[in-house]
Symmetry: C2
Subunit: 293 residues, 2 copies
């Protein structure tokens, strides 16, 4: 092993996140060899050009046979199908981890998929993903970032130790979390804002037909509130489909709160409205205080 944390690492999907992982592995001397796998040669060539991978292949099955560690950095909706495809071809002792922003369904399915002697450990690096493509990859993308690892009852301690060692070697802050708790947490902290932003924009779009000055009159709060919709439609579709149960529950809760506000407006309940808005600001400030840094 010659001092490397891993001998042969394979990264499946070398966009911004996978490419940054490759660069970090190389620059920090964490892996002897990093191979990229992706759907097209152009993307893989770009990852080669920035030094994120040493070699590449388009062959998903053949590409993983010698891997000690496989990092799945595809869009979240493809993670389970990819793990399902490669599982029979992994060598004994191989560890697979993913970088998806939803964890519960992936953890459950991958636990079922993995063959004896091979291991899956779910992960979610909480880094800004407004960049795309290996050409914007950065070896420091994970530096001081929160990196959630979501072991299950089936997770082997040895595999968990490998993945947490990787995360800490990247300079990230490793945190263990139950996959269900993770998903219910990000459903509110990250996914519900996307749903609300899109809902607001559709209301805006229909209304602007009859309100010609609407686009000119949007306030700062409107811009703030709809920025989430700049994310890719594929990413947002995937979080809806993979985190459906937790997301549906919080959409319902949020609709309930909007109905409560509507009822107070209908009843002209000034005291209730004032308390509702006061409490909202208080919740925001309490949450700000509990943030790291």
């Amino acid at each position: 092993m010659s001092g490397y944390l891993f001998d042969n690492v394979v990264i499946i999907g070398v966009g911004f996140v996978g490419g940054s992982m490759g660069l970090a592995l190389k620059r920090r001397d964490l892996a002897r060899k990093v191979r990229g796998i992706g759907p097209n040669r152009e993307g893989l060539e770009r990852a080669m050009a920035v030094g994120a991978i040493d070699s590449y292949t388009l062959d998903l099955k053949g590409g993983v046979v010698t891997a000690d560690l496989v990092i799945v950095a595809t869009p979240v909706g493809m993670i389970v199908p990819v793990v399902d495809t490669i599982a029979p071809f992994l060598k004994r002792g191989a560890v697979v981890t993913d970088m998806g922003s939803v964890k519960s369904e992936i953890a459950k399915k991958c636990d079922e998929i993995m063959r004896e002697g091979t291991y899956f450990v779910g992960g979610h690096p909480m880094i800004k993903s407004d960049k795309t493509g290996a050409e914007s990859a950065s070896a420091n993308a994970f530096l001081r970032a929160r990196y959630i690892i979501t072991p299950t009852l089936h997770t082997a301690i040895s595999a968990l130790t490998s993945v947490t060692a990787l995360v800490e070697s990247l300079g990230a802050s490793c945190e263990l979390m139950d996959p269900d708790e993770h998903d219910r947490t990000v459903a509110i902290a990250g996914h519900l804002p996307h749903v609300m932003s899109a809902a607001l924009l559709h209301t805006f779009g229909v209304s602007s037909i009859n309100l010609p000055k609407l686009p000119e009159m949007t306030a700062a709060s409107f811009d703030d509130m709809t920025r989430a919709s700049e994310s890719s439609a594929e990413y947002q579709r995937d979080i809806c489909l993979t985190n459906s149960a937790a997301l549906t529950a919080v959409i319902d809760d949020c609709i309930g709160n909007m109905e409560r506000l509507k009822d107070m407006i209908a009843r002209e309940d000034g005291k209730g409205l004032r308390e509702f808005f006061d409490r909202a600001r208080q919740i925001r400030r309490e949450s700000e205080e509990r943030k790291p840094r």
Copy 2:
């Protein structure tokens, strides 16, 4: 009139907005005398100290008897009661304008309230109102700002001309708009975001009881989306109560969109979800392109 646009101006409510109006009137030599009226001596003394007013009184009725122009710069929920109180004491030819962010109900009620020979013209300066108090007032607060004027069928042309002249003399960009259209426009552009932000925070508040890491894990989109709730609870209560019809309609529409998303999630309609998010982004970009500057 010695070259001034107005001889005696009275500003009722000399916080940041009213104070900025006073400062602009003085610095630009638009008014011979500016008197402030407010509920307490301390606020009025601060407005005197920054030079926003020449004199003040706590007497709402007596304070307006010599006014040529009365500018109501109180919180939006107090505008109609204030106009109702001063109406019998106005001299013939007096013009009253307000600076509230909701216009339809105010325009209708003030048209009814005003006595013969006195005039009401509604206005809404679209300036950032994150500052409070005359001590943060600025003579340039209205410079290049959009300033909506909302005449009705009852508005006298002479009064409308006075108010538009005032607005243009402040360096603002004057725009005429129907009060109902104004309110339906700001219901979406400005008020609905406050409702959604508060609803999201209440969902967050309840959920965080069982999800201890939630406050640490909020994404940028969550912060963006809840910034609107930093506004004062009184302001938000007032826009709910004074713009209730338009706001209720758009809350309903937005809830409908969230239900549509929920249905697509339940049906695992990946194509529909992708189209929904794609369209949302497209609406946002089209709206950005139609913005001034």
